[in-house]
């Protein structure tokens, strides 16, 4: 499980380089500056690529926090 979190955290660091590491676990779209549609698509696509997951159009908008993304990955890989 920590491997999933580590990889998702790495994706966040790539998309939001200014986000402090300690803020990543609680990061969500409404609280992170610059988390717009482009950042959202870039982040979710990076996660999908990292874990080899297929995404539906609904996923791009729904997965708008670190917690939701980790939960999504865990469900998909279970």
């Amino acid at each position: 499980m920590s491997d999933i979190r580590d990889k998702v955290t790495a994706c966040f660091r790539n998309v939001f380089p200014d986000l402090r590491p300690q803020d990543i676990p609680s990061a969500e779209a409404e609280s992170v500056a610059g988390w717009d549609s482009i950042a959202q698509v870039t982040l979710v696509s990076a996660v999908a690529e990292e874990f080899g997951l297929a995404l539906q159009p609904d996923d791009y908008e729904r997965l708008n926090s670190y917690a939701l993304i980790v939960a999504f990955v865990e469900t998909q890989l279970a």
């Binding site: 779209a29 409404e30 500056a33 610059g34 988390w35 717009d36 549609s37 482009i38 959202q40 698509v41 870039t42 979710v44 696509s45 995404l55 159009p57 791009y60 908008e61 708008n64």
Partner: protein
């Protein structure tokens, strides 16, 4: 509070301001002429269709995003369908947070139209279109270029090579003409004045419409034209100083039988866009291309460029065209997989006329 609404007259002034601010980086009120142009294109175009309107993205009652949509009647294997072109997409950076862009595009693709498309989506934004369900048409994302006067083309691009080069652009004009005249005598076909076996004559929109109606094209996806809509379309494509040199011409055999036509901008000395070049029968496209290049040469054009048409690739390659992919993409969405497949495989008669290539918005100074 976020809200997606159909674009209405009350939003026009804000949309015009948003264009200058978000696209041109100019923080000033838009002139009335720009607002009036928004009205003409988005509320008075001849293809207006209820349910297929431009989209306004509002945050707390203020316009924060806009997608300009123009519907068009098309056919798919002869059956009527509805197409919708996305022509202008802008978001207010002051509202950078939130997923407004994605929501706008999902609403656009969820509309009643059978096929939606957008040309020239910037590389950075293309993933958002894809996330909303669009597919990238790599085929139509290419442009072609035909250099007619190489020194004229080089001078045209001098602005991109720093301030010194830009400053020398004026004086370079004194040299470009004579140098191009000299190289046109060289024994290299690519540099010589293009030869042409057809007769070219400029025509009115009504005359061109009659010629187009004789086309025997059998592509799966074809735009539909009616006379009055086409005349409005050509009037718009040729309006304003930014569209100087607009030219519609028919290429015919010596007995007067039309072979094809082309619609383009023929400003002397510069690179000019071709909106459409087509033949009545596919075997005639090489000769119509020759006619286009010869006509452009006669008009003093330095070079031509246009959107790829896969039907013309072989003939264009043989006629010294080069192909490049700019840093933007052509994207398409359709719920019917057969329609989508036809577009992605290039089985269409789509041209720059069918998306936003004729709009004045990007080419006028709007002062």
């Amino acid at each position: 509070m976020e809200e997606l609404r159909s674009f209405a007259e009350e939003h026009v002034a804000d949309a015009a301001d948003l264009y200058l601010r978000s696209v041109r980086g100019q923080n000033r009120p838009a002139p009335p002429a720009l607002g009036e142009y928004f009205r003409e294109v988005y509320f008075r175009n001849p293809w207006r269709t209820p349910g297929v309107e431009s989209i306004a993205y509002m945050i707390d009652g203020k316009l924060a995003g806009f997608l300009g949509v123009i519907p068009r009647p098309w056919t798919f294997h002869g059956k009527p369908i509805l197409a919708a072109a996305s022509t202008l997409f802008m978001m207010d950076r002051r509202y950078a947070a939130g997923f407004g862009a994605m929501r706008i595009l999902r609403r656009f693709f969820d509309g009643p139209q059978d096929i939606s498309f957008s040309e020239g989506t910037a590389d950075q934004v293309t993933p958002v279109f894809a996330a909303a369900g669009a597919k990238i048409s790599y085929l139509y994302s290419f442009n072609w270029m035909r250099v007619l006067r190489p020194f004229g083309v080089a001078r045209h691009f001098m602005d991109r090579f720093g301030r010194t080069a830009a400053a020398l652009k004026g004086p370079a004009g004194l040299l470009a003409g004579p140098l191009d005249a000299l190289v046109s005598k060289a024994p290299l076909a690519a540099l010589r004045r293009p030869a042409c076996s057809l007769l070219v004559r400029p025509v009115s929109a009504a005359e061109l419409f009659d010629v187009m109606a004789e086309s025997k094209g059998r592509e799966a996806l074809r735009p539909v034209h009616d006379r009055s809509a086409f005349e409005w379309h050509m009037e718009q494509a040729g309006a304003g100083p930014g569209h100087a040199g607009f030219r519609m011409a028919v290429a015919s055999a010596s007995d007067g039988t039309p072979a094809g036509w082309f619609i383009y901008y023929a400003r002397p000395g510069g690179m000019n866009f071709v909106l459409q070049v087509a033949a009545l029968r596919k075997q005639q496209i090489p000769y119509v291309l020759d006619a286009l290049f010869a006509d452009a040469w006669t008009q003093g054009v330095a070079g031509l460029k246009g959107q790829i048409d896969p039907r013309h690739l072989v003939a264009m390659t043989a006629r010294h065209c080069v192909f490049r992919q700019p840093d933007n993409r052509y994207v398409v969405h359709a719920r019917n997989p057969e329609i989508l497949s036809a577009f992605l495989s290039g089985d269409t008669a789509v041209s720059k006329l069918d998306a936003g290539g004729w709009l004045r918005i990007p080419v006028e100074p709007w002062t």
